[in-house]
């Protein structure tokens, strides 16, 4: 049943539609110009794929892309693994509740502060900046999502299931791997996707902790934007939008109704 509201259903639809226009007009304009044979601000001339071909041939860009992938995969893997360990610890009767606030820190502190602090820390301990430091930093961002999400889901699990498993003679280890972990699988996969995309798209932390030798895709995009308009960037946007659409679809399949957290 439609609920009456202050602006009425038509006004409400118009308001929502204009918000979506606000979100999508820039993207549509951007995509349109990835097929234009002339460089912006020249108007539309003819349809072309040449910017996509140039994108594929841009070896330097793909190097930074691979760097971003390595960092995103590693930090996702480490933070998910630590999350699983933590759940195992809690399943053993370990007390974790009081440490949970530690992990909310990454949300209540601006990323700029985290980036600068890590840069200072690596400087003080003479650790040279590069892929490893970026993986460390991104894992902190990842833990800030994985730990609260997976822990909250664990607390919601029906304890009767693990009790039944133990009562039927399964060892605690078997119970963990055959009951608890499968029940947590959707949450684990969806938080892994979230961490992956956060790491892959991260700019602020990367900006401070990358050093001069390592460049990620975000940093490369920044340098390209600074130097002006290039249709290759439009083609790249199209590719990245396509990838994130697929990830959003997977994420949707895993999230139960109303449980979409960021």
């Amino acid at each position: 049943m439609a609920k009456p509201s202050y602006i009425g259903p038509v006004g409400h639809i118009l308001l929502v539609a204009s918000t979506y226009l606000f979100l999508w007009v820039p993207i549509i304009v951007l995509l349109a110009f990835s097929f234009n044979s002339e460089v912006f601000p020249a108007p539309w001339k003819s349809f072309t794929f040449k910017w996509y071909i140039e994108l594929i041939q841009n070896i330097y860009l793909w190097k930074t892309f691979v760097n971003s992938l390595i960092i995103a995969f590693s930090s996702t893997f480490i933070s998910i693994l630590m999350g699983i360990f933590l759940i195992f610890f809690v399943a053993q009767g370990g007390r974790f509740g009081k440490y949970l606030n530690l992990f909310y820190g990454s949300v209540i502190i601006p990323e700029t502060v985290l980036g600068v602090s890590l840069l200072g820390f690596f400087g003080l301990t003479s650790i040279s900046l590069g892929l490893a430091t970026l993986i460390v930093g991104h894992t902190i961002l990842g833990l800030g999502f994985v730990v609260p999400l997976v822990y909250a889901r664990y607390l919601e699990l029906d304890t009767r299931l693990t009790e039944a498993s133990l009562a039927l003679g399964a060892t605690p280890l078997q119970t963990f791997f055959k009951v608890t972990l499968p029940l947590l699988k959707p949450t684990l996969i969806s938080s892994a996707l979230l961490v992956f995309i956060i790491s892959f798209d991260d700019f602020i932390l990367t900006y401070f902790c990358s050093g001069s030798s390592t460049q990620t895709l975000s940093l490369y995009i920044l340098s390209m934007i600074r130097s002006g308009v290039s249709p290759v960037m439009n083609a790249l946007s199209a590719v990245l939008l396509f990838i994130s659409s697929i990830m959003v679809i997977i994420y949707f399949h895993l999230s139960t109704r109303g449980k979409i957290f960021l």
Partner: protein, 287 residues
């Protein structure tokens, strides 16, 4: 409880520790160190000379007060703009989206899950002198000369709202999803107007989501330096801009850290204030 105890006997207990150690080592410790270094005087070669307030008092200067003030203004106005765009959207998604709901959520999440620098780039196309907005307004005859939109405060605000909108929509949406719509009907049946229902029923019961959204927008907006730099053409200085310039320049790193500690402390105080203010706003409506 009997069962957890029996599990304890098996497997190494220390297995839960890595996450906590990692968080302490690479999160708490660096932040603690940066706070300490802003009170310590170093010699040229990095020896500790002693305790000092000089790095803090260096910033007791109207120029830096203005920077901090502007950052507060940016963060607060962005949070308010996002809230006023996000609430109707989240409400629509939760109660009126019906079978379009997942499609609408899908189209909300895609931009959110794509590198934000590409969106900054996309807005160049919209706001440029020969961009989408100017072309549209010129062809409609509303303006005669192209407007200057890039490198203005308006461009910064648009980009900030664009980027942070989903951070506000999603928590509000999840709290509205958990909200029982029959309460609205009960309120109408008892003779309340739409505004009374919204103010006294819906708003207080979704305050958790509003509060989460507020902080997810307010806090990172305060430290933002990329969007003001790119959309504002580095003309207006915010806390993030000043800090990143000090940090990345040679020899001023610890001054940058000190400025970050000062503004971080002020941000924390303001966050606590808003936390209680938002709590009060929902509490008073109950009474």
């Amino acid at each position: 409880m009997k069962i957890p105890k029996s599990i304890t006997s098996e497997g190494p207990f220390a297995i839960g520790i890595p996450a906590i150690v990692w968080q302490v080592l690479f999160f708490c410790l660096p932040i603690l160190l940066i706070v300490i270094t802003s009170f310590i005087e170093f010699s040229e070669i990095g020896e500790v000379l002693g305790f000092t307030f000089e790095k803090i008092t260096y910033f007791f200067n109207p120029i830096y007060f203005r920077v901090i003030g502007l950052s507060f203004a940016l963060a607060l106005s962005n949070a308010l703009i996002c809230f006023s765009l996000a609430y109707p959207l989240a409400y629509f998604l939760a109660f009126r989206g019906r079978r379009f709901k997942s499609v609408l959520l899908f189209f909300l999440l895609i931009p959110f899950w794509t590198n934000f620098l590409l969106h900054v780039y996309a807005w160049f196309y919209v706001l440029e002198k020969h961009g989408f907005v100017n072309n549209l307004l010129l062809s409609l005859g509303i303006i005669q000369e192209p407007l200057v939109l890039l490198n203005t405060p308006i461009a910064i605000m648009i980009m900030m709202a664009y980027y942070y909108l989903p951070f506000m929509v999603l928590p509000i949406y999840s709290s509205l999803e958990r909200f029982n719509p029959s309460l609205i009907e009960a309120s109408y049946d008892l003779g309340a107007s739409w505004f009374q229902t919204f103010r006294q029923i819906i708003l207080p019961l979704t305050m958790r989501g509003i509060r989460a959204g507020f902080f997810l927008v307010y806090i990172p907006s305060f430290g933002e330096f990329a969007i003001p730099g790119l959309m504002g053409g580095d003309k207006i200085m915010f806390v993030g801009t000043v800090v990143s310039e000090f940090i990345l320049a040679e020899g001023t790193g610890s001054l940058g850290a000190a400025f970050m500690v000062i503004s971080g402390a002020l941000l924390l105080i303001s966050a606590i204030f808003f936390y209680f203010l938002l709590g009060r706003l929902s509490g008073r409506a109950h009474g």
